[in-house]
């Protein structure tokens, strides 16, 4: 099922807020998970698992290292859902 980037961003905001306590208003496409949002490696695993469940996609471990910004994650999920 196709997902819109806006829907994915909205869903990711909820997940990152829940997992890492980052205010949704700070979560934007150009933000870096590690440096800007302080999502550490363990929390990133939680974000990935929650995103897989929510969007019905597979995010392999080797792909996770390339998800540097929120925008990277949105693009990956939108493409994976096509």
């Amino acid at each position: 099922m196709a997902l819109s980037p806006a829907d994915v961003l909205a869903g990711l905001k909820e997940i990152v807020e829940e997992v890492a306590g980052v205010s949704a208003s700070k979560i934007e496409l150009d933000k870096n998970f590690t440096d800007d949002l302080e999502v550490d490696s363990l929390s990133m695993v939680e974000v990935v698992v929650a995103a897989e469940e929510r969007f019905g996609v597979k995010i392999p471990d080797e792909a996770v290292t390339d998800l540097v910004t929120v925008g990277d994650a949105v693009n990956f999920i939108v493409n994976a859902a096509k």
């Binding site: 890492a20 363990l42 939680e46």
Partner: protein
């Protein structure tokens, strides 16, 4: 030149209160922290009650912080923050700051919850925080991280003696000049059906389901086992000159510790109490105290048929006729048994007892067991004498671990 060690801060979260002041007030008033469990699983067990903390960690910390911490780690942070603040948030070199916080069982609730996740959702369903949450050193590690302690972070494990052993370890760290300040104590969060079923299978728990608040009754003729409690206690230990130099409030001195092991049985106490006697004698010698200096003792007394009498006999043998001048309190009658947290909250109680010159009561003794020949403080708190006084804290653990801590007024 011996480095002396004093107590400059206290923190606690217990079945009696959210902090030290509320816990102490309830303790002196003789309140019970034991209640019926509300969980459905209690029906699977022969025991339907426990002593949960008075105030949930959710009311004391942020949700996001909580979700990556085991309940035992939450207790450690809550109590440490109170203790650190009570000590005046000392400005200390991080290389001279240490943490020694014990737990008897560690993150057992996390371990079991994540096993449920594994069975239900597979390996992907297991939280990446599982290991840092279940490791027994997790409470110490999280407090160490928060305070950036760099002198050493340690976790002795000796079942129900763990909390006292942690405080003793911290004493040695300061004496041997490894550190100037140590955040020390113990925590436990094991109120879950599996550990409770395990203790119940040993016949170690009281099954007085019709009167939970009267179930923990050390020294009573009809005691039938201990009541599982949860929570923790923290003491800020500080080198005396360091504390004086910064103008710290000083509660009392931690003057010594005595350690021994029974070599007798994995769970049963040695009926002769030989190991306990040796630990008491070592503590007095280590503290340079005589039996005449001791006016108060917080007993291990958990309300088990064999343990309470074995300890009381050992006290008489170790202290001789001077035991008749010692006000013995069994505070587990009110808090339940916090396992690895017990020696720590009971050390907090000793420090308060010396400060307030007041020995807490032992509740629920309807008929004193005639085999108990020590002077138990029953029902009402009792005043302690003026002048320089000292007190002992007994803690024993499955495995035959004996730890006795000695505290004295300055």
């Amino acid at each position: 030149m011996t480095r002396r060690v004093v107590v400059t801060g206290l923190g606690a979260t217990t079945p009696l209160g959210a902090d030290v002041d509320s816990t102490w007030a309830a303790l002196i008033a003789g309140k019970s922290g034991v209640r019926l469990l509300t969980e459905e699983w209690r029906e699977l067990l022969p025991v339907h009650f426990a002593a949960r903390v008075h105030t949930e960690p959710a009311d004391q910390m942020e949700r996001v912080e909580m979700r990556r911490l085991d309940r035992s780690e939450q207790f450690a942070l809550v109590a440490s923050r109170e203790a650190w603040k009570d000590a005046g948030s000392p400005d200390v070199e991080k290389e001279r700051l240490g943490v020694v916080i014990a737990s008897g069982i560690g993150g057992v609730i996390t371990l079991l919850d994540q096993y449920d996740n594994l069975k239900e959702k597979g390996a992907r369903g297991v939280s990446p925080h599982t290991v840092p949450m279940l490791m027994p050193n997790g409470p110490a590690a999280n407090v160490g991280l928060e305070l950036q302690a760099k002198a050493g972070v340690h976790t002795p494990v000796s079942a129900c003696a763990s909390g006292a052993e942690a405080i003793g370890y911290a004493l040695e760290m300061i004496r041997t000049n490894r550190a100037d300040i140590i955040v020390s104590g113990g925590v436990e969060a094991a109120i879950h059906q599996l550990p409770m079923a395990g203790f119940a299978a040993m016949k170690a728990l009281s099954t007085r389901n019709d009167a939970p608040e009267r179930a923990s009754r050390p020294y009573d003729r009809d005691r039938d086992g201990f009541v599982l409690g949860e929570g923790g206690g923290i003491l800020i230990l500080e080198e005396y000159e360091h504390a004086k130099a910064r103008g710290a409030k000083i509660y009392c001195e931690l003057v010594g510790q005595g350690l021994s092991s029974d070599g007798y049985h994995i769970a049963a106490p040695d009926p002769d109490g030989a190991g306990v006697q040796r630990a008491i004698k070592f503590a007095l010698a280590n503290a340079n105290l005589s039996t005449k200096d001791i006016v108060h003792l917080n007993a291990h007394a958990t309300s088990t048929p064999a343990g309470d009498v074995a300890e009381a006999n050992a006290l008489r043998l170790a202290l001789g006729s001077d035991i008749d001048r010692v006000a013995v309190s069994a505070t587990k009658s009110m808090t339940g048994h916090l396992l690895g947290g017990a020696g720590a909250i009971e050390s907090v109680f000793i420090v308060k007892a010396l400060q307030e010159r007041l020995a807490p009561p032992t509740i629920n003794i309807e008929n004193l067991d005639p085999a108990v020949t020590v002077d138990v403080v029953r029902d009402k708190a009792r005043a302690l004498p003026a002048g320089q006084i000292a007190a002992l804290n007994d803690s024993f653990g499955f495995g035959g671990h004996n730890v006795v801590l000695a505290f004295a007024t300055l």
